[in-house]
Symmetry: C2
Subunit: 229 residues, 2 copies
Amino acid sequence: MIVSGRLGEGDLLGREPELVERFGVSRPSLREALRILEADGLITVLRGVHGGVIAHRPDQRMTARTGSLVLRARNVSLADAFEARALLEPLAVRAIAARRHRRTAIAELRALVDRQEETIEDLERFAVANARFHERLVALGGNRTLAVVVEMLNEIVVRSIAAVGDTGDGAGSPATRRLGLRSQRRLVELLEAGDPAAEGYWREHMTAVGRVMLGQEASRVVDLLVRDA
Amino acid sequence: MIVSGRLGEGDLLGREPELVERFGVSRPSLREALRILEADGLITVLRGVHGGVIAHRPDQRMTARTGSLVLRARNVSLADAFEARALLEPLAVRAIAARRHRRTAIAELRALVDRQEETIEDLERFAVANARFHERLVALGGNRTLAVVVEMLNEIVVRSIAAVGDTGDGAGSPATRRLGLRSQRRLVELLEAGDPAAEGYWREHMTAVGRVMLGQEASRVVDLLVRDA
């Protein structure tokens, strides 16, 4: 129900006694099923008087969890995971640059750069605005599977960096952030002109960002600090 | 332990009473934990006299499961998932073509085409040899995260097609397969020559393969027929 979209994020599935009746299963069987769905991130079970089972739509937290388990099992480095991002985003850039009708996309991207500019002094809000730019850039490329993959990789990279407790902020100083925005504006111009060079330009930009963002953690193995199963 | 590689695929973790003692937990708590790990695909619990808990290394079955849940929740089509493959494999092709030392890679790819040629009349063996070619092609590209992503997408596409019970074999007739192998040989030649056209050539090939393979199922939503959570 959750997966096929009949239930939305945060919908109340019901309380335990109701669910036992509705699915015609025993209480222990229900609990076991709920535990598995909770481990998958598909539901949250709230205890207490106001308790109940809350549904979640599957999202990048879920794919990041399993993705990072596989990457970790193969000793894949953070630098490798970031390089994948630097390879994938330019595919969306190529698709946008080659498209005939792209004015709406360009206007949206420009607004998303402006939004980052406004929040440049506030690291937390800037991080949100910046993530939104990258997310929409890939979505505007048109392939939705690629968008899901990039969201997964972003989540893995950002959370892996957070997990090593690196306080050296990945987004750098306001000055570094300003340089980043200048690159984004240049990208938007190339996209607007339909310049095929946009793809290569963005690949180089992402590669440079990766070097700054990862710093000394580049060779560290991907790890979200999930349970050590 | 499984994830960090201290346990290999198929290793026996132990039997229930041993595990209760080893982790110092109650029997119901252990069972709950085992149920969750089993749902994740990290272990198999074998019942009976010769029973016990078997460890599995995390692999593409795991990422395909969560990936397909997210794709399905967003109503993403099989054609979209296949298009992502057609976008990603050429990235590996570009990397190989641009590399200075690529003789070993070329020799391996050539051997993998020969292997498919030998099995061309046997659909099952051909499918294995063909999957191996695509898997190694991406791995030889050098980015290991990308390899994990492509394995996930292959698993999703192949299992989604199997789930709709399509008996029209995706690999086509032996004649179609021969055409496919001809394209692969052409790709290997372009790679050997270090021709930058290899990337675009392979993108067009993959797009054409997608059309043949998906046929009427192209617009169907990704679905591995997992439990309807």
